[in-house]
Symmetry: C2
Subunit: 152 residues, 2 copies
């Protein structure tokens, strides 16, 4: 469990390895984002990108899986209030291997709930060619270890 007291602005962590398959891209696309460039290999050839690409929401979901597994260690029990400035910078293609880098952008104590901190992380999803395919700022809460003694 990661606590408010242990976190500093600028803290950076890189983790995760997720290889995305064509089958998975098409499956997610058919379920949630049925645009031809996410669901149909042939039709995708005549699209703007010229090939099958993952739904941007699929990339977000893969980010979340890696974030929960490797950063939140299964979760800290506090759902996120939201996310800012998602940029889908480069297409994610079948066979790509994605990893994540998280940098603490801001952290402060909650005024209304003294047992939690409010954290903003700058999150990047990076492919096997070291290209950043997605950036966003996630907002979240972290538990405070010692709500009484805290000085930060």
């Amino acid at each position: 469990m990661r606590y408010f007291e242990d976190i500093q602005i600028g803290d950076e962590q890189s983790f995760g390895k997720y290889s995305i398959t064509e089958e998975e891209i098409i499956d997610f696309g058919k379920k949630f984002d049925p645009q031809p460039f996410h669901t149909d290999k042939e039709k995708a050839k005549t699209s703007a990108i010229g090939t099958l690409i993952a739904s941007g929401w699929h990339t977000c979901a893969i980010f979340m899986r890696l974030f929960v597994d490797e950063y939140l260690d299964g979760g800290n029990g506090m759902p996120s209030p939201g996310v800012d400035n998602i940029s889908w910078l480069k297409p994610v293609k079948p066979g790509d291997t994605l990893s994540v880098r998280v940098t603490v952008s801001s952290i402060r104590r909650s005024k209304s709930k003294p047992n939690r901190g409010i954290i903003k992380n700058f999150c990047e999803v990076i492919n096997q060619n070291h290209e950043t395919v997605l950036t966003m700022y996630t907002n979240g809460f972290v538990p405070v270890k010692n709500p009484v003694n805290i000085t930060k």
Copy 2:
């Protein structure tokens, strides 16, 4: 197909009906957001919300499905560059029925690519009790019908 010339700031459209099941919430959670309040009915009882809730990314994905089906009419061939200010305002629970309201927030001609417009939509996901569970601003492109004659 929706063209740049047909769109005005403030245009509003409501559509869609998506009922979310417990099975689906758990399935998405196990795949992409394995925090106990998304994956385990029993453990969710002792969580902050006190019940199983959908992953926020699942709500985004359901929004996208309704948006593609009913607003984009299967897609316009132009992947989105990103999304701003996602706020997960209320939990989405098993049995909820979600619909979408989209309001054009801004629209302008692309300077670099005269055959497209750049549109920002304020998007809301609303449950069966008329509560807004998610808001965000999506960024997208729309094709220009007459790139030469345009006056807007």
